[in-house]
Symmetry: C2
Subunit: 190 residues, 2 copies
């Protein structure tokens, strides 16, 4: 899917310029950054942007794919270092902090955890994030510290909801951790 014949040199150049500019624009203006502006700043026609990224969602995902994959890798680092229950909660915390601090990330994660009949699970972001939480949740349930009646994606959605609540509160990292801790108390088994 990521392969196929290589792009023409000018197409590849445009593709990469668009990604770079888009990442800046989303960081600066959030998920609703002007697409026309991104095309202009990248020095391409707006049609070219649409050729490479047919939807805003596609561009957002491509611009943040590095960050999302780093988050997926982080799950395994934490799993290797902490007991399963703690690894899960620490990872959800890092997810929440990114939701708060990386502009546009909230929209991307929201669409990655939406129940849309599985379409979200097929996107890169959905695959990575849902895969990571699946591993962490299963381990914590096997350990016996997490309620067994929870689906991994439910844990993800609840943590995302708490992150959105933290955003409404204008919460910093400390407060976000506290809110997640409250949720964690409700999710613990026993």
């Amino acid at each position: 899917m990521t392969q196929g014949r290589p792009m023409r040199a000018d197409a590849r150049r445009n593709y990469e310029r668009l990604l770079k500019v888009a990442a800046e624009a989303f960081a600066e203006h959030g998920e609703n950054a002007s697409l026309d502006d991104i095309a202009k700043r990248a020095g391409v026609g707006s049609g070219t942007l649409y050729r490479h990224f047919p939807t805003r969602r596609a561009l957002l995902e491509a611009a943040y794919v590095d960050r999302v994959e780093a988050l997926g890798a982080r799950a395994d680092e934490l799993a290797a270092r902490l007991p399963p229950g703690e690894a899960l909660m620490e990872w959800l915390y890092e997810l929440a902090v990114r939701t708060l601090q990386v502009r546009g990330m909230k929209a991307l994660l929201s669409s990655a955890v939406t129940d849309d009949g599985g379409a979200a699970a097929l996107t890169v972001c959905g695959t990575v994030v849902q895969g990571a939480v699946h591993r962490l949740v299963v381990a914590a349930q096997a350990e016996g510290t997490l309620r067994r009646d929870l689906e991994p994606v439910e844990v993800l959605r609840l943590a995302h909801g708490v992150a959105m609540a933290a955003e409404l509160a204008g919460a910093g990292e400390r407060e976000t951790r506290r809110y997640l801790g409250l949720l964690a108390d409700g999710l613990r088994s026993g």
Copy 2:
């Protein structure tokens, strides 16, 4: 603030037509319903809409003020009938169900619980909703069933976050109640 000299007859007619049409439009198209369309359907110029409701938020709030006040009254009904802890959780559940089922309500409640230095608390929706949760939370804390380190508005934001998570899950009433129950377990004292 709601008084002042009475409106001219045509102004009042337009005001009421706008409210009626806006309620329908928000119900049908959600918080981003076209303002121009609302003006057209109400048979007034777009300038008239802006005269009466300078912001989208103002129109949304005016269109839903009845529902919000009903929710505030509901808090007292529940407080009179149930033990404090149960009354709080039942009210948060009803809040969440409205967030899911009444289009546009999510945006209205979000802005009512946002930490914006107190501006939200001065709107009708903010006053009503924050007042209601304050009474319920204080009672539950006095009863000893709710953690004492929680501010009322924090409880409101967390429940709102859970409601947003339920929306992402496409959850119905039953599932929403389950999610809120998980949060409730984390908020309980002891």
